[in-house]
Amino acid sequence: MAKEISLKERSSARFFTGLLFVVGLTYAIAFVLSLLYFPQVRERIFHPLSLAMLIRALIDFLGHGLIKLLYLLIAYQLFRLLGLIKKGEPFNQESPKRIRRIAYYTFGMAAINVIMELESVLSIAKWGFPYWGFWLNLIGFLLKVSETVFFGLGILIIAVVLEVGVRLQQDQSLTV
């Protein structure tokens, strides 16, 4: 059955599209301004491109774009959660689902970070594994990823606890 889109959902979707547009516009303006005021950036842009640089730039662009998109999706879920709390229904079936989604988006961010950082970690590996910079970079990379994963796990635990709470509340309200 097709879900009817309410006016509130439509207005929040419009708000987030607008936000996305503003973020994109800010990036474009920052890019143009950096070209105008920092000539060294201009020189770097017109460097002869190698395939490795192009792939690196593409990975960076896609990775950062996806992370920004996930941030927006998390903001959207938080926005809807606040709406539920405002309505006075924090213990309904929808809120654990939304918190669970936030956890999955956080895991997604960790996965994107892994893909993005793995390339830089491996690029140092060519100097040899005993090289101290490799281990330093690897430890930094693992710490960065595990930070996000632990954060996601914490959110997931909150979602599971809330799910149990909702079930208990339903049991209580359906006990005659």
Partner: protein, 69 residues
């Protein structure tokens, strides 16, 4: 659910309306209809006690077990 509620049958037998039963048992009409329609997840012994008292019956007259196939 495999536990069936035969409350409406007992109410017909005793010629008692839902309003009267809810007044006698002391639970709200909405809770009584949740029970009657089989949507309830649990029933308190105190409620069952009052229902049996009001309908002058045994718990087995109100509740029955039906094996699922």
């Amino acid at each position: 659910m495999t536990i069936e509620i035969n409350l409406d049958l007992m109410m017909v037998k005793r010629k008692m309306s839902l309003t009267e039963l809810s007044e006698r048992v002391g639970i709200t009409m909405s809770n009584l209809s949740i029970l009657k329609q089989g949507h309830a997840r649990a029933i308190r012994f105190s409620t069952l006690d009052k229902i049996c008292e009001a309908l002058d019956c045994q718990p087995g007259d109100v509740l029955s077990y039906k094996k699922e196939r």
